[in-house]
Symmetry: C3
Subunit: 358 residues, 3 copies
């Protein structure tokens, strides 16, 4: 390595587990939506954290100013395939300046909502598969939501039979994922991110992304997300909002509040979120969790619940035992059970795995 | 890092800006080609330089001989997507030997033309978006050029109406790009690159690529590029030629001459290029530019002009203010205005951004 | 580099050659399968070894336990494109633990068969293009094999005419590759790998992969591979088996035995393999090779032969001269000649190149 002129850190996470997974396929049978279940043994990636590799650059420019850049790529270690649609650096990619004013960067950033959910609201910090609050692609299109409404509000059985296939198709896209919260856009392309300096534990973050999809007849869509967090000693609380314009004029708005408190014996988490598809439907979501360290072992439990106007009720329970082999290496056993759409679909996964960070 | 046995350098560039961009869509309206304009705010990548990450390996083999290899990947930091068609190492990939004889390598290389354009002929050295000489995909197919000719030379208005859609389609592919020069193939696959030793400031480079697309009935195409440069103190001049066989028997030949001179107060650039689509059309292109350092600030201006037989007139103006935060970090404000095809399409972009190299 | 907290090694191979290659296209002409040949000059990648870059992480956990992870990506240095279907880390991706019990990992692993073929059975260790034992995609589907059988066993010429197109299509997929052995799956997704400790030179490896392709009506397929090797001083021998369930109930089973012995003046290789498509066809394969070092030069020769029930006879000859420029850099001249399907198709390639590891 030629290091004198270089100041980049190469880092990553390798996380895999072997386990069993039950997934569902939704179909319309007459007036009913029916889930057929499939259980199989799998080697899977990303039990505790998303596997990744990345480059982090930093430069001290003097006078309190610094330049920074991150390029981070997600991967499935069970197949070697890229995540996030196989984007080259699909997790994060940005370049910016930091100083007394805070930090300002341009690129593809985590939304403020997603960052707060992982770091403050969720007991399974940055977990994917086993996180009760992360999953359930609520990213319905306007058409899909209207199909669901038409089915749910159908006046006659004949009406329901006619509308069942469209409703099944609408639900199908999110049915295989774990977690109970309605989805927001977790990573915002073409975005500006500003974070305030940390003032006595308070910090604000704003991420605003340009859709860059203007046409001759429609304006560009936007994604905006803002958070305010307070972290001090044992307490961490946050208020966060995200507005995703999924199509011009069709918004999904999430507003969450919550936090965690370290009682010493255990850290408790509590969070509430309201998700609104403007003019169509809204959903109330809450989550409660705990992390209890017992020597090298940490017990983690989390339950999340979502109840929506046209989406029915969704519940998810995550349980983990993490065993710390070193600061960088953790073995784990974990399970997640999720029931969606008033228990129409029941998914679960359990596994035994390890995470190594480098 | 296990460094004892390793000798690879990890490097990169992260460049992004926020700004406004006007792009055009070309359509045929009766006998006329009409451009509809679209302006929108964007976070974009690669204002001054193409964002990238790469690996550079070097080994001293003794006796003046050395082995080298480079793998370089281009990316859009605004979305995390790969550039160059999302190739794994789309910017450069080669392995070779260097010594008293010069350097010889195999792989995917910059053409000699492209290297000279960036390093000697252009005031916006290695710039992408704001470079007045880099863009304008002149990589028309034979059919597209004939469609343009047929339209331009149509004897009657009825004839022109019939031919307008094909002509619009021919121009459409290059209309959204900045810059005024006709395109050559900037990176040559399956190529051999030889560079002579530097002899009193003189150096020659030859890059020759095999199309590897032979069929039972047609031979393989080829891409060849050769340059001669002279760099000594304040002066740098170059003569360069490239022959791209875009399809068997259909060549685009570029021949450029130019250079720059450092007057101390400013560095001035002047270049001329002739682009010929064999047997069909030719285009005369020239560029003039200046780089004037004022302390940490450098003012850059460049104007490029192209006038072609069947392609009309294209002009591009690039202006930049670069502010050096450190040797590796530059903030910039820049704009580019381009008029193509006798001002039929008017594109522009301006932005405020930063480039960090690591 | 921030190294204190990091323990990852960045490594790679850059291998390219310039040469000439003859490939074939198979078509049915009446009752006959006819190969049309195409020779062309090329710059190619991966003469001696697959070009790659990778990350290798290791951590000592104390008490003889260690954590390890590898992410390895294959590439064609002649075009910058990814190999293995452009997977992000298509060569290898796994994370695991090692200790007195051996090593246990999860991810995408080389099959035990492939590892042994490269390390023990083949004189062209880890070679791709010029390896007489690696290539010949024997990964026929059940339908393709039946099409071949029907053609080979056709009772009347009219019957053969009718079946020739399907037979040509069945052979076509493997006709452009070098090497004579029938194909197994070299890299197993979603797999568990266990290796025993090395006991007096003996070591066993087991790789088992879950197809994860269960449907409502069919179970998931599996890939399993196991090897036993004995390496001691000048001798290395191995017994290895692989069972690839290419589709539910349709297996390709490979069982190989062989080894090498270092006579001092030269190292000799001998290997035998039987490939069986369950219930349909089998093939006997053997290979003999030699590596003879003469100072910095090493002469390598290998011949492989495969004779199958319905696949005819395939032969491949590889010859190499390797010149060691340093421990990490090798120049080479090499050729491979392959005759497939009773000499219906004759492929060859020769080239002059270099391999640099970093």
């Amino acid at each position: 390595f030629a290091m004198a002129q270089s100041s980049v850190t190469l880092y990553g996470v390798a996380d895999a587990f072997v386990g069993s997974k039950k997934t569902n396929t939704l179909t319309a049978v007459g007036a009913n939506l029916v889930a057929s279940n499939l259980r199989q043994t799998m080697v899977e990636s990303n039990g505790l954290s998303g596997s990744r590799w990345g480059l982090r650059a930093n430069e001290d420019l003097g006078g309190g100013l610094k330049a920074f850049a991150t390029l981070e790529s997600g991967l499935n270690i069970d197949t070697g395939a890229g995540q996030q649609g196989a984007l080259l650096f699909g997790r994060q990619a940005f370049v910016g300046l930091g100083g007394n004013f805070g930090g300002l960067s341009l690129g593809r950033h985590y939304s403020a909502f997603d960052a707060v959910r992982g770091a403050v609201l969720s007991a399974q910090n940055s977990a994917y598969t086993f996180d009760a609050t992360n999953g359930y692609g609520g990213d319905f299109t306007e058409t899909q939501l209207k199909d669901l409404q038409a089915y749910n509000q159908a006046a006659t059985p004949a009406n329901q039979v006619a509308r069942a296939p469209a409703a099944a198709a609408a639900l199908a896209r999110s049915v295989a994922r774990m977690g109970a919260w309605t989805g927001y856009v977790p990573r915002i392309d073409n975005s500006i991110r500003y974070e305030t300096p940390n003032i006595s534990g308070f910090q604000g973050v704003l991420v605003y992304g340009f859709g860059e999809n203007k046409t001759a007849t429609t304006g560009a869509t936007k994604n905006g997300s803002a958070s305010l967090t307070y972290v001090n000693g044992p307490i961490a609380v946050a208020l966060v909002h995200q507005d995703d314009e999924l199509a011009k004029g069709f918004h999904l708005k999430n507003t969450a509040v919550g936090g965690n408190y370290d009682f010493g014996l255990a850290k408790a988490f509590l969070a509430y979120n309201q998700a609104k598809f403007t003019g169509l439907a809204k959903q109330n979501e809450w989550a409660v969790g705990i992390r209890a360290p017992l020597g090298a072992t940490t017990l983690v439990a989390q339950y999340a619940h979502a109840k929506g106007d046209d989406l029915g009720k969704n519940q998810s329970l995550g349980l983990q035992v993490e065993y710390t082999l070193s600061k960088r290496t953790t073995a784990y056993a974990a399970l997640n059970q999720t029931r969606r759409f008033d228990s129409l679909a029941k998914n679960d996964v359990f596994g035994l795995g390890m995470r190594h960070t480098f």
